[in-house]
């Protein structure tokens, strides 16, 4: 049983299967929108389809039991396969013995033998040239009248593959830690107000922070096209009503406090402040400035009526910002409710009970949308990212090359054997070697 499992997990077939299976199943989550409230899905699908999809956790599939299982299987697969390679890699990167084992001339990937009648010193000189241009400066040893040359380069490039595989494990582990110990959500805070509650994404409820976040100020600048150019929030972290840290966050420039990251994500209009409504008495022409608050009535000078506003909108029927005014007159059963615009618009409808109302000035009250996250797995993921690139660079730009050369025989007839092994680009290495030996042979016959 254990043997069978070991065989399964040490096979690259499993890796390829898992890669492709993960790729195919991942498509589902890009078609079916993830993390919506359950009611939305219920209305989208018939009950049968809904319960089937719910069983497979398709609505949050990347955190589902089966997707996690696939990732776990992949991790085990990587661990087993990498461990299987470790002894071989250690053998390859541990320094070569100076003693040359004659078997390399029979077992190496690349082998070549030829004879020469040149002087020994010439042969040696050529051997050194060949080795130097192919691999590097050779080491010479003499044993039983036989001359050996050997050279090696790029030994540590063998570590590249191990680095890549370990880094994938680190990234997966970092992801797991983040899922278990971290959170990610949003808090919307109106200018001047504070909050300690983060609404978590994916309908996972809310998270209470052990401190308050106050939005001191929010500003937004626009391009001529009306597109936002930049928006930023002045934040203060408060503990028991005391200021702890202050900072400004912009998009792409978060604030980090106690391992929590505060990112400027969105903004919106929460309402209006400093409203100034003009009420002109049509008879006397006298104009009064009213300063009402939403849902709070103020007396209308020169009459027994009072006035209030119900709400503010940034754009009413394409005519710009407006407030919904309410006129309360004693003895009248029904209140008069009407829109009040900035100067000029729709002036007729704004004449009520002998007054003309205009929206004179106001300032928008923004709320800032801050994404708050905590992810203790991030350092592990960054290490994984660095390691994977190091691994790729090692295995892409460096090649492990080894070459052995043996010159045996005696005067008039020397036998030269070459053995070599390369971790990649074998074909071009062989071509180079063939070219160099041919050159040497030509020079020798001159």
């Amino acid at each position: 049983m254990i043997k069978k499992l070991h065989k399964l997990f040490s096979s690259v077939k499993l890796t390829i299967f898992l890669f492709l299976f993960l790729a195919v199943t991942s498509i589902i989550g890009t078609i079916i929108q993830q993390g919506l409230p359950m009611e939305r899905y219920k209305s989208l699908y018939s009950p049968g389809v809904f319960s089937a999809l719910k069983f497979f956790n398709i609505f949050d599939m990347y955190h589902s039991w089966w997707f996690t299982t696939l990732l776990t299987l992949l991790s085990i697969n990587i661990i087993v396969c990498t461990f299987k390679q470790v002894p071989r890699i250690i053998r390859l990167i541990s320094p070569e013995k100076k003693e040359i084992d004659d078997t390399v001339f029979k077992s190496s990937q690349i082998r070549k033998t030829f004879q020469s009648q040149k002087k020994l010193s010439d042969i040696e000189r050529h051997a050194e040239i060949i080795i130097k241009s192919l691999v590097g400066t050779p080491v010479k040893t003499v044993k039983n009248d036989t001359i050996y040359f050997l050279a090696e380069r790029g030994r540590y490039s063998r570590l590249g593959m191990i680095f890549v595989h370990i880094s994938i494990l680190l990234i997966l582990a970092g992801g797991l830690i983040g899922t278990i110990l971290g959170f990610h959500g949003q808090m919307n805070i109106v200018e001047g107000e504070k909050s300690d509650t983060v609404t978590l994404f994916g309908g996972e409820g809310a998270k209470k922070l052990d401190f308050d976040v106050r939005c001191d100020d929010f500003t937004v600048e626009f391009h001529e096209t009306g597109m936002p150019k930049e928006y930023k929030t002045d934040l203060t972290i408060m503990n028991d009503g005391k200021k702890v840290v202050s900072g400004t966050i912009r998009v792409n420039h978060p604030l980090i406090y106690k391992g929590l990251k505060f990112c400027q994500a969105t903004y919106g209009i929460a309402g209006v402040s400093d409203l100034l409504i003009g009420a002109k008495n049509n008879k006397t022409g006298e104009k009064t400035a009213l300063n009402p608050n939403i849902m709070k009535k103020v007396p209308l000078p020169g009459s027994n009526a009072s006035f209030a506003i119900a709400r503010f909108v940034t754009d009413q029927d394409g005519m710009g910002p407006a407030v919904l005014g309410v006129l309360l007159e004693p003895g009248k059963a029904q209140h008069d409710i009407f829109w009040i615009f900035q100067n000029g618009h729709n002036i007729n409808q704004q004449q009520k009970s002998g007054f003309t109302f205009t929206l004179d000035s106001f300032s928008r009250l923004y709320y800032t949308g801050i994404q708050v996250s905590k992810d203790p797995g991030v350092p592990l993921v960054w290490i994984g990212f660095c390691l994977i690139m190091m691994g790729f660079i090692l295995s892409l730009f460096f090649t492990h090359k080894r070459i052995w050369m043996k010159i045996s025989g005696s005067q008039d007839k020397y036998e030269i054997s070459i053995a070599a092994s390369v971790s990649k680009n074998r074909k071009s290495f062989e071509e180079q070697l063939a070219g160099l030996t041919r050159e040497a042979a030509v020079e020798q016959t001159k």
Binding site: V12, K13, T15, I16, F19, L20, L22, A23, S26, I27, G29, T30, I31, Q34, Y62, G175, H184, H223, T225, M227, P228, K229, E230, Y231, R250, V251, N252, H253, P254, K261, F262, C263, A265, Q371, V372, S373, D375, V378, V381, F385, I388, M389, F392, L396, K427
Partner: protein, 272 residues
Amino acid sequence: MNDTFLISIVTFTYFSAAFVFLISIVFNKKSVDKWALIITVAGLILQTSAIIMRWIHSYQLGIGHAPLSNFYESLVFFSWSIIFVYLIIRKRYRDNLFGVLSAFFAFLILAYASLSSNVNCTIQPLIPALQSNWLISHVISSFLAYACFTIAFGTSILYLLKIKMKMSMLPDALFLDEVTYKMVSIGFVLLTLGIITGAAWADRAWGRYWGWDPKETWSLITWLIYGAFLHTHLARGWRGVKLSLVSIIGFIAVIFTYLGVNYVLSGLHSYL
């Protein structure tokens, strides 16, 4: 002069380059070969100037940013990357068929960028989320990866034509196979870098390095397919037809990551 006008000249230049490369193959003439290369290099220089011009122009408009931020600019950079990668690998893989392939792909992309009504070529201001130092490294590594995958797609198609249709004018099958593998392995490393820079950026913008957004997920799907490609080749010894098919499937995923996500699915990358 306007950079979009320069790009239409470049479009024509790449078409000519593809044509001259084709002539050099059909008539097997070394002298023509040289001209094809000169035209290609001239096209790349012209295109680079157009990109720089657009960059400067955006600063003159007061909305200065690298020209890598909307669909039109990404198409221009995509075709630039293909020619750039071709000129690098040309030394190693001296076959004019790659010249035809690269110049033709670059031409097609530019023609689409200039002619399609879907593509808006005006310089637009950058939305705040895109105002980041990660933009340039993320876009460059991603599109160089796409360029490598495009060339690998081309050689895979040629391989299948060579094997199935027995077209004798095509290069040796083993050679095509090797180029496919090399391009995929370099593309894979660049794609990984593109995903990493994207993750680092997302972490600064939204406080999470990975959020299973459709664009992110599709880049992972592409990564997994090419990852499977490398494993079938290195560990299982897959060659030839099977490997070419995996490379073609991978390229379909690339196209979906680049275009499909914006046109078919919605997500955070919808501005591109």
